[in-house]
Symmetry: D2
Subunit: 297 residues, 4 copies
Amino acid sequence: MNVGFIGVGRMGTGMAANLLKAQHQVTVWNRTPEKAAPLIAQGAKTVPTVSEVCRGEAVVTMLANDEAVESVALGADGIVASLPAGALHVSSSTISVALSKRLADAHAKAGQRFVAAPVFGRPDAAAAGKLFVIAAGEAGAIEAATPILDAIGQKTFVVSDRPDAANLVKLSGNFLLASVIESLGEAFALVAKAGIDQHQYLEVMTSTLFDAPVYRNYGAMIANGRFEPAGFAAPLGQKDIRLALAAAEDLRVPMPLASLLRDRFLTLVARGGEHLDWSAIGKLPAMDAGLGASTRL
Amino acid sequence: MNVGFIGVGRMGTGMAANLLKAQHQVTVWNRTPEKAAPLIAQGAKTVPTVSEVCRGEAVVTMLANDEAVESVALGADGIVASLPAGALHVSSSTISVALSKRLADAHAKAGQRFVAAPVFGRPDAAAAGKLFVIAAGEAGAIEAATPILDAIGQKTFVVSDRPDAANLVKLSGNFLLASVIESLGEAFALVAKAGIDQHQYLEVMTSTLFDAPVYRNYGAMIANGRFEPAGFAAPLGQKDIRLALAAAEDLRVPMPLASLLRDRFLTLVARGGEHLDWSAIGKLPAMDAGLGASTRL
Amino acid sequence: MNVGFIGVGRMGTGMAANLLKAQHQVTVWNRTPEKAAPLIAQGAKTVPTVSEVCRGEAVVTMLANDEAVESVALGADGIVASLPAGALHVSSSTISVALSKRLADAHAKAGQRFVAAPVFGRPDAAAAGKLFVIAAGEAGAIEAATPILDAIGQKTFVVSDRPDAANLVKLSGNFLLASVIESLGEAFALVAKAGIDQHQYLEVMTSTLFDAPVYRNYGAMIANGRFEPAGFAAPLGQKDIRLALAAAEDLRVPMPLASLLRDRFLTLVARGGEHLDWSAIGKLPAMDAGLGASTRL
Amino acid sequence: MNVGFIGVGRMGTGMAANLLKAQHQVTVWNRTPEKAAPLIAQGAKTVPTVSEVCRGEAVVTMLANDEAVESVALGADGIVASLPAGALHVSSSTISVALSKRLADAHAKAGQRFVAAPVFGRPDAAAAGKLFVIAAGEAGAIEAATPILDAIGQKTFVVSDRPDAANLVKLSGNFLLASVIESLGEAFALVAKAGIDQHQYLEVMTSTLFDAPVYRNYGAMIANGRFEPAGFAAPLGQKDIRLALAAAEDLRVPMPLASLLRDRFLTLVARGGEHLDWSAIGKLPAMDAGLGASTRL
């Protein structure tokens, strides 16, 4: 397929590279054009405008937030304005349910196809084509997107014919991850203040009830107190909890644990932790318990 | 070894049977003597008093709560009063940190050995000798307990030379489990109200980020709305969160997620859910969201 | 002064009437023109467009929410487009801090004056000219607004030269009120389940520590379980907590009690309480405690 | 009446002095006998044992916590063991509902009368005889206690014939007070971070919606950041929230705001605030918002 790709940050670069490996023709547009260099070396073309990246059968977007997606998709000379009728937009960014609905509506009006296909996985999984893809959209659009989704992920889950459902599932997944961090943070504060070795504690827990990478990885970060470099920065985690809560508010679903996480992220960034990995909220329970530096009133 | 065993409920029966299989001589005392019948068939003896079950090298207790343990251990003609000097008490019940400290003190004064050895695992794991044992106590006591611990579990983790540390680790583990239930309950309420199929959602999550039995099992219970029969009853879960919070209060560790869980269990039992599995707290977010019967104001 | 007035609902009608009593010339515009009838009987004029209501020295807006204010103020032929240079916009609606900032910027660019002047008080206080006015804006604008503010309120508090500060103070006040409701709701659930008479309890509390109308009034509503007719409807309370939390998020201020209130309002509207007074969140603690109808699982 | 008085701290001294002024004969026992000196100067007698202070028609206890009351009331040679049949125990301490029930049972078995009569008011109100008394007990016991209650308070509210109901009402009152502190703390953090003057903000709020001493006094302490000397020390506030939550747990009443307060007090004492007034929890929201010293991660 002839595929445009918008947004070649750490995730997008790996995804686009896998499209190339799968023999798709890939044209890239990025706000900072220099970032496209590694992909050009692998055979991608680059174009100077969003409009020009929309001339193929499909365009994939992988951007940081709602504002970026809204700007390239709904602005003048954006994707909706440029994509041929019948062509496909695959939106892999983690965006709000509300924006996903707006995109679906706009593409429908323009006679274009739209699939929301956010992914689970970090940059290394993107590079390896090992992402999990959560996809939603009309059957025909999903079918059209399949060669793309197969190239970027190890497995695709189609969760609904309404695209925004995929975005909600993605946001709920990040809520579940942040919940793991919070629970570990509180448990570590408890056992640490009792004098129990945190690394041994982590070993016990992840050898028994919680034998899963998410517990091992976040647990190690909290036990080591090392939140740099940020694999997934605190403001991004904060954003995702905000979007989950916004969707929950629209659906009228109270989520007190998500509210707690919201307050944790606010505390983290208010107290200077904006540059840290989002798992640094797992340090706050220990600080509230008076452990560590900078905790005396 | 010549081992006394107090408390042959669903967990204790399996544990005592494995002691028999490992060629230990086992003498049983149970408040309801009839429950010892299956063990007698396997070669155990039974005696009519706590005092008499304490005449061997060691006694193991596996009881429901602090009150039961306090009664058999610290009462007149109880374990502390009856056990020979140098003999060993292995306490596998999930009890409070405070009671574990009292037991350690009492045994030390009486010249006896004490190991706290709570376990992770359900009755089927107890029967199969597949429990994980969290043990703590003085090195000599741990050494003496090793043949017993090896018989009842697949692996023993020694976490401290202070016995109560093992109880704290056990309680923290149940806190982590209940946190999983709460997070799943909120996530399910969110996606269910958006019209997403809960079973498919669970499949997505447990095939990707949360590939662990705890997510599969509790997720299935919440998705099915089936909380009977109770594998671990709500009041027991409520008790363990209470004990975790009590330990946290003594240590001055605020745990807001544990506080939320406490309120969930109170709501569950206040609204008639006392007979349900503890994972039924995972149903409350959906009810607060107006899903299901009996939710209109 | 020659004053335009936009929004003559229950609050605005009383406020405009007091402007008339203070000998101001009042021209009214309302989306539903019939609502202006009582004011016309008192000497007001009515005009068919927003543009025409903006031809005097000042215009006052008293509308339900951000959308309504944004529409009349920032739309084509709206207030900013229509008001003469140097003329004044007094915004008394309870709107977001963010919109207040946008209005201030737009008026500044257009060479107009802007005062945010939200009020504390219910419709009866508005009719009696007994509102409390929280005002903010540049000194010259405040001075120009003083005859208007004096007419509608018993006292004006000038809190800042930045208009949005007044909106934040107003939102914080509604947060404090909702906190009173939550605390009373929990206290009533506690004593009611212990069999203590709720009315006597209220009498004790409001005769001693909490001798203030807010405790008497909301306490009586909760004790009586009567939340209709709604003096201040649940969705409006929900909106104000949402706006307070939005402002707090922009300022990076975690507010866990506000988060709890947010979840209470979501529960209330999710379970069918949209038509009730906002104090109906004070009924939820008793329901969670298993008191009353419709509370069994 | 011939009245024994146990516990002449800051509250008890004022209460006992008012008994003397009302022409009662007062005999004092205090763990630290020197504290009785001012009362002896006013005409009180002192005795060396609890037993001897129980030889009159009534004994009043005003002690710091459950442990102190349990020790003097239920211990060997304590009040229950010493008081004549038909004589009266008036318990004014802020104690748990559970202990109040135990005392009521013990006195009933011993043929003695028991009234729980906790008070609202600070030491200055105690000295002035201006306390509010929350009383509960059987009609005959209340009648017998009336001359005592009239002497120590400005008004008595009889809330139940079960003594423990008075203790629950008292605890609920302190919960309501702490809720005021929390709500003010969050509101102050919000407006302070927006650059609004906190003293002016307090003036606005207490001149309008919250014209009550509790808002003025706690608001001023938070605005000034002055929590010393402690009028009511943090550990006492922490204790009362603990007792309220314990009563709520026994009654199966979830109280999420009380849970939040519990965590606030734990944070306060964990971070070195044990010596501060309990209103210092109102400082924590600002710290979580990154305001003030010692708040950087």
